[in-house]
């Protein structure tokens, strides 16, 4: 795992106050854990991720749609060989739009929040809005409404963005340089907001 990028359970702990759901994760810490871990997987398909990579998808460290136990075992073995451990396994969530929520320290030392269309091509799509923290809820909702017309979804995204901002602003030692929640999605019913991936980039990872 890169010392400058935090992911997995450590990130969930840091972001515990953010009103967002996390898919149940099975963490596999070594090859020896595979058997027990796979028994803990309740349903398929699943998503397999190599932890500790800054941009997993671009590095090939995310496999979605893994459909059964045999495929899962093979995925975990391959990831363990190429990327090392730990590896997380989460249920695949059916969803529509992928969003991104993020916070970062700007060159002036001030903190910014960002919301937009996320996923793997977030930078290529370049559909994001930046707001200066702290941000009022109305302002956050107004920004989010660029990307969804569903008011209850806008409210959830806005609340998550505000809470994410509070994590950043409360970081008095400036340990965190940037936090990405990408993608965040609503489940098939559209009611619950999930973070499918999250990373905390430590301040010393800033070039």
């Amino acid at each position: 795992m890169s010392g400058n990028v935090l992911s997995g359970t450590e990130v969930r702990s840091i972001l515990g106050g953010v009103p967002i759901a996390w898919p149940a994760a099975v963490v596999i810490k070594s090859l020896g854990d595979i058997g027990q871990a796979i028994n803990d997987v309740r349903s398929f398909p699943v998503v397999v991720k190599a932890e500790g990579l800054a941009h997993r998808h671009a590095s090939g460290g995310v496999w979605t749609g893994v459909r059964d136990r045999d495929a899962l075992v093979a995925s975990v073995r391959a990831f363990g060989l190429h990327f090392g451990f730990p590896i997380t396994v989460t249920p695949y969530l059916q969803h529509n739009t992928e969003y991104i929520l993020g916070v970062t320290r700007y060159q002036t030392g001030e903190c910014l929040a960002m919301v937009g269309i996320g996923g793997t091509a977030v930078e290529a799509r370049d559909q994001t809005i930046y707001l200066l923290l702290p941000v009022a809820r109305r302002e956050a909702v107004q920004a989010v409404l660029a990307f969804t017309s569903e008011m209850h979804q806008a409210g959830q995204l806005a609340d998550a963005m505000i809470a994410l901002g509070e994590v950043m602003v409360a970081d008095g030692h400036k340990r965190y340089g940037s936090i990405d929640l990408n993608p965040v999605v609503f489940d098939e019913g559209g009611g619950t907001l999930y973070a499918l991936d999250a990373k905390v980039f430590l301040a010393d990872s800033v070039p």
Partner: protein, 488 residues
């Protein structure tokens, strides 16, 4: 905590109405010195002017003092005609609080001495009790006010500046000259101007916020080249909201460079251009793309009397066929979507043009031109649509209207827009330098597609700031354009 208003920054506004002036480093052999003094007197400043020149005073030359310590009474505005460390020393030696300080010279950060600017900041904030001392510079060209005739500036200005409602704040001294001259050429009156120079002590944003508090200032235009803190934009926007006055902001020299790819997505995409533009707009500032647009925008807002229509959509009505297509393309380049009007509006327009049109925004008013009242009918059909607030009339034959018939068309358009309480621009799509100072009461005019589109964009942004957001669609439309907007 109460919201800050422009009136909270009276210590900055006070620099434009000093009771005295002290010029340190004055020399009758220096054009900079003599220009400053002559301009002060020529424009009616009657307070004492203290001339500081140690060598001349020691030689016994009349009219000179050896230092500011020898000044009896109020120092007023202190102008420092020295550079670098010498300038800082003079400021630090001031015996009493001045109204403010202007440092014309260089020799600071650009000469590798950022520590000198830091010393000025420390002095301004701590030398005297109470509010900070305003310091314009280094590399300031000074300040002026037409309200009271105080012209403490070395800038090359027009012979006469008409008194008006526009205030200028600029980090660039040469742009103070350019903007003032352009405004004068267009008969756009100016109220006050502050050239903040490097803006490290008193920022352009604080100066702008202060000028918003002046009763005779309706619009503030700002040119800046650095944003030391994003919060300054937010503060300025807050004051603009409280004062209910527009601030037009042009930022020069912002970086397009992205961050390293190994960084987070949020960090990598936080380019200076994207971030500063977004924060400025979300703070309620109207961003423009060039210093020229500062003048166009101020003119458009003043000409339209800062009306605040409920609708925010932009409608283009042409009194000439091909021209609307050209202008529509120009509007698209300025990020303006010509939204399709409601079905009811389309039905009304169809009646007005006898059903010959195939597009409804822009609309070619040509088929209706031959009928008395045709232009008025088309325009009023649109004005009745609550979704629209900015109307662009593309004049057939150019401007000024070449015939009485063309003039009647423009007047009919203008009256319909005014009756609807909306914002309007009458333009020609080819720049015509013979347009001169032709005006139409209550609306603004534009020469050429670029000016027309820029004014449309600025008026639209003004209407968005003031329109109650009535629907999710309004919010979406506004924010969608925001999210795709890279340049400002």
């Amino acid at each position: 905590m109460a919201e800050m208003t422009g009136k909270d920054l009276d210590y900055i506004r006070a620099t434009l109405r000093p009771s005295a002036v002290t010029i340190v480093g004055y020399s009758p052999d220096s054009a900079g010195s003599t220009n400053l003094l002559q301009r002060l007197r020529r424009n009616g400043f009657t307070g004492p002017v203290h001339l500081i020149n140690r060598r001349r005073a020691e030689r016994g030359e009349s009219g000179f003092l050896p230092s500011a310590r020898a000044v009896r009474g109020d120092l007023g505005m202190v102008y420092v005609l020295l550079e670098g460390p010498a300038a800082v020393q003079v400021v630090q030696d001031l015996p009493r609080r001045p109204a403010g300080v202007v440092i014309f010279g260089a020799g600071f950060t650009e000469s590798g001495r950022p520590d000198l600017e830091a010393e000025l900041v420390t002095w301004a904030n701590g030398a005297f009790d109470g509010s900070p001392v305003p310091v314009y510079g280094p590399q300031s060209m000074g300040i002026f006010s037409t309200a009271n005739g105080f012209f403490g500036t070395n800038a090359i200005l027009p012979e006469r500046i008409e008194q008006g409602e526009v205030a200028i704040v600029t980090q660039s001294g040469s742009l103070l000259c350019t903007i003032s001259r352009t405004a004068s050429a267009r008969n756009l009156g100016l109220s006050r101007a502050i050239a903040v120079g490097n803006g490290r002590v008193t920022s352009a944003f604080d100066a702008a916020a202060a000028l918003l508090g002046e009763a005779d200032v309706s619009v503030v235009v700002v040119y800046a080249e650095a944003v030391p803190e994003l919060a300054l934009l937010r503060n300025l926007g807050q004051v603009a909201r409280v004062e209910q006055k527009p601030v037009l902001l042009c930022l020069g020299g912002v970086s397009l460079a992205g961050r390293a790819a190994a960084y987070s997505h949020t960090g990598a995409m936080a380019t200076e251009e994207r971030v500063v533009g977004a924060v400025a707009r979300h703070s309620g500032l109207i961003t423009v793309r060039s210093p020229e647009e500062l003048i166009w925008g101020a003119e458009a807002l003043i000409d339209n009397a800062l009306r605040t229509p409920e609708g925010t959509g932009v409608a283009l009505i042409g009194f000439t066929g091909g021209g609307v297509i050209v202008v529509a393309d120009e509007l698209a380049r300025h990020g303006i979507d010509l939204t399709v009007p409601s079905t009811d509006t389309v039905d009304r327009i169809r009646l007005a043009v006898d059903g010959h049109n195939t597009t409804w925004n822009p609309v070619d008013g040509g088929p209706a031109l031959g009928r008395p009242g045709g232009v008025s009918e088309i325009t009023r059909a649109y004005v009745a649509d609550p979704g629209f607030g900015v109307y662009l009339g593309l004049a057939g034959g150019g401007l000024p209207p070449p015939t009485r018939v063309h003039e009647l068309q423009v007047e009919a358009f203008a009256q319909a827009v005014l009756d609807g309480g909306a914002l309007g621009v009458v333009g020609s799509y080819v720049p015509d330098e013979s347009t001169g100072a032709w005006k139409i009461a209550g609306l603004t005019t534009a020469r050429g597609g670029n000016e027309l589109a820029a004014k449309a964009r600025i008026l639209r942004d003004w209407s968005r700031l003031n329109s109650p957001l009535r629907s999710v669609q309004d919010l979406q439309d506004q924010a969608s354009e925001e999210s795709c907007q890279v340049t400002f």
